[in-house]
Structure formats: structure tokens, C-alpha cells
């Protein structure tokens, strides 16, 4: 496997959905190719950075309005 081939299958490898037979080739290449190892590792870090970060907080005033609106709607729709 060449670096370019590895690059084309990067999604499947990172997501753990690569065909087991191809996965062996992939890992053999990785074991001997430090740049590819680092790229795979960088991509995993990149995903973690966005998945685990919750960068925006609701403005307090908006949050108060949101909860009031929802409570009113709830009472309207649940009035029997």
C-alpha cells in the first residue's frame, strides 16, 4: 500500500469500518511510515477537539426567554 492509497481510505480506517483484509495492509503500511501514523493521529485529535468542545454558551437572557416560551407552550399543549 502506498501513502496515497492509505489517504483514500483514511475515513474507513479512522471510523473502524475498513475491510479486515485491507486493514492488515493499512496497519502494515502504518507500522513502517511515521508520517502516515502522525496524520492518522492528527485526524483523531482533530475530531476529538470539536466533538468534546462545547464552545458556545447560551446568552443568559436568551436562555431565560427560551425556558419561559417552552414552559408556556408545554402548559398550552398539555392542558386537558
Amino acid at each position: 500500500m502506498k501513502c496515497e492509497e492509505l489517504l483514500a481510505m483514511l475515513n474507513e480506517y479512522v471510523d473502524g469500518t475498513v475491510d479486515p483484509a485491507i486493514c492488515q495492509d493499512f496497519e502494515r503500511h502504518l507500522a513502517g511510515c511515521n508520517p502516515c501514523q502522525v496524520v492518522v493521529d492528527n485526524i483523531r485529535h482533530t475530531i476529538t477537539l470539536y466533538k468534546d468542545g462545547q464552545p458556545y454558551e447560551l446568552p443568559a437572557e436568551f436562555r431565560r426567554r427560551l425556558h419561559t416560551t417552552l414552559r408556556q407552550r408545554w402548559l398550552e399543549t398539555h392542558a386537558s
Partner: protein, 219 residues
Amino acid sequence: MVETDSDEIWVRQAKAGDLSAFEALVSRHEGRVYSLAQRMLRQEQDAEDVVQQTFLSALEHLAGFREESSFATWLARIATHAALKIIRRRQSRDATATVSLEQNTEPQPGYDTIPHPEYIADWRQSPHKLLEQKELRQTIEGALETLDEKHRLVFLLRDVEGLSVRDTAQTLGLSEANVKVRLLRARLQLREKLTTAFGDPARRLVGGHTHEAGAAAVS
């Protein structure tokens, strides 16, 4: 996961008419939905509208939520549909935008023109250490903002919200092949920008490497 477990309990209680369970669900998920909306739309007022529409819609359709996906995923899909409406309205208002999100596909969903990684280096710090530093937020969110909308939305749904390729395709009205290509481009572009910012220059490896020359350092 504990959080998912109590989501399921709260969903059941809310379905049975318990307002406090519904409010607990809103409080738990509002920050995540707001972050998703901000990242999709990059505009505070529009993001607030999406959050409000999402939870109103969740309230209205809760009885129909079949719990085949997690509550968080269900909310992400509702929020995305609301955000797409805003994006389409923007596109139709913007005279320069001549293609819609769906039409704006890759010429061929092939992998032949994938950008090659240039800046290859281990990061100086772990992602969680980086997230602890508030002053880096602009760098991290700024990198995401530089992605084309079509790449950013796929990355957000697939990698951040954890939707499957099929669900991402369905939600955005794209083919699965197109989702995969866009996702790879998004991941590679973000990797490049973040590694340029957070990579350790002393451990930078040769870009455009071949297998043999791979391990040689630049300096």
C-alpha cells in the same frame, strides 16, 4: 453511558407529561444544540432561532420520537433541518450564490484530487489540554469557519454529532458517496490548519513524503 441512560428516563417521563423532565432535557442539551447552530450558521440571532425552533419542535413531536436514535441525535437532526432552512434563505437572497447546497456537489465523488497533507507533526498538547485554554477557542473555531459550508455541515453532523454516514446523507439530502468525500476533505483541511497551529515544529516531518523518505525530519 450514564447521560444517555438518564436521557431515556427523562424522555419517558416527559412523554408521560412531566414538565420538569422535559426541562431537564432542555437544560442538558441546549448548550450542545446552540454550539451546533452557531457552528453551522456563524450568526448569533440565527443560532438562537434554531435553538428555539428545535426545542419547540421537540416538545411538539416528543410523542412521535421512537427512540431509535439517541435524544441528542434526534435533536441534532431537528436543529440541522432548521439551520438548512436559514442557509437556503440566505442563498436565495444572495444573488452571487447560484448553486444550492445539494447542487454544490463535488464534480465526481472520487478521491483522486484529495489534498495531500503538508504540515505533518505531532501536536504539542493533547486535544483536552487545548480545550482547557479559552484563548485557543478562536483558533479552533476559526479553523472550522474557514471550511466551505458543504464540508463544514458534513463534518459537524458526522464527526461532532456522531450521525452515521447514511443519516448524514439523508439529513443533508446528499448521496452517501458525496458525504464520504466531503468528510475526508473536511477532516484533512481541519487537520492541516490545526496542525499548523498546534503541531510541534521541532518534530515536523517531511510533507509530500514517500514511504522511504517518510521518517526524515525537516530540521
